[in-house]
């Protein structure tokens, strides 16, 4: 994040600026907007420390790591319980309908 923008901004550096964002057709438009507003308010150096919540939420929206880790933990626990016999035939799985997602 320390290298988001060049040191001296001029029209020459703006020509090839990578100005892609998530505001149109983006899943994370709201989180990105909050993050950018926060960083604009505090500046880059202070903003990284103060806007930790916004950074984490935006990262989570982009990469979905926490949701994946949740899934892995739940699945591991279920396999463990099936393996040690706590969950038997009918209660082993709860499957959704195939056209509902």
């Amino acid at each position: 994040m320390d290298t988001i923008s060049p040191f001296f901004r001029s029209p020459f550096t703006d020509i090839t600026g990578g100005m892609i964002d998530f505001q149109i057709l983006g899943r994370c438009g709201k989180q990105e907007m909050d993050l950018m507003n926060c960083i604009e308010a505090y500046g880059l150096g202070r903003g990284i420390k103060k806007c930790k919540g916004y950074i984490d939420d935006y990262g989570e929206c982009r990469t979905l790591t926490k949701q994946l880790k949740r899934f892995l933990a739940i699945r591991k626990e279920r396999q463990r319980q099936i393996a040690c016999g706590k969950l038997t035939d009918d209660r082993k799985y709860v499957s959704p309908r195939v056209d509902s997602y």
């Binding site: 949701q67 899934f71 739940i74 709860v94």
Partner: protein, 153 residues
């Protein structure tokens, strides 16, 4: 030697009356239609078939319109049914997770060991699950059915 002159020799003579005349003129194929007749026939058949095609085409357009209208009419109902089933499944998933992770230390339902997925939203706002989360408690067969729904369908 003198008897050889009495016997009539076999000679290769022309048939009596002479040879018939040799046909050397061209014999072209029999033509049923002339060129202009062919063009006229083609144009006539085209006009006739265009007319017949248009009759059927109008009927097909009507059928397509009716099918499209029917699909548009039932689309909201189908969408609503799917959303209802989705929400019901979210509830069932939540209950299954609560029951499954009852004895796991540090686990709170809907979080990752107590850490919320999105920290800066109200606690009761719906966080839509990813595919793996939605199918976290399901049989592998059902998972594959949905994940590979386009493979051979």
């Amino acid at each position: 030697m003198a008897e050889a002159f009495q016997v009539a020799k076999k000679q290769d003579l022309p048939p009596p009356g002479g040879y018939k005349p040799i046909p050397f003129k061209r014999i072209p194929a029999k033509s049923y239609f002339s060129g202009y007749t062919m063009f006229a026939g083609f144009i006539g058949m085209t006009i006739g078939s265009i007319y017949l095609y248009n009759i059927t085409y109008k009927r097909i357009l009507k059928d397509e319109i009716e099918m499209r209208s029917a699909k548009m009419a039932i689309y909201p109902a189908l969408l609503a049914e799917r959303d209802r089933e989705y929400l019901k499944q979210l509830r069932r998933n939540r209950d299954a997770e609560a029951e499954l992770m009852r004895d796991v230390p540090g686990w709170e339902v809907g979080t990752y060991y107590g850490e919320r997925v999105y920290k800066l939203i109200p606690p009761d706002q719906l966080v839509e699950p990813i595919f793996q989360e939605y199918y976290a408690h399901s049989d592998i067969k059902e998972w594959n059915k949905r994940a590979n729904i386009k493979l051979l369908s």
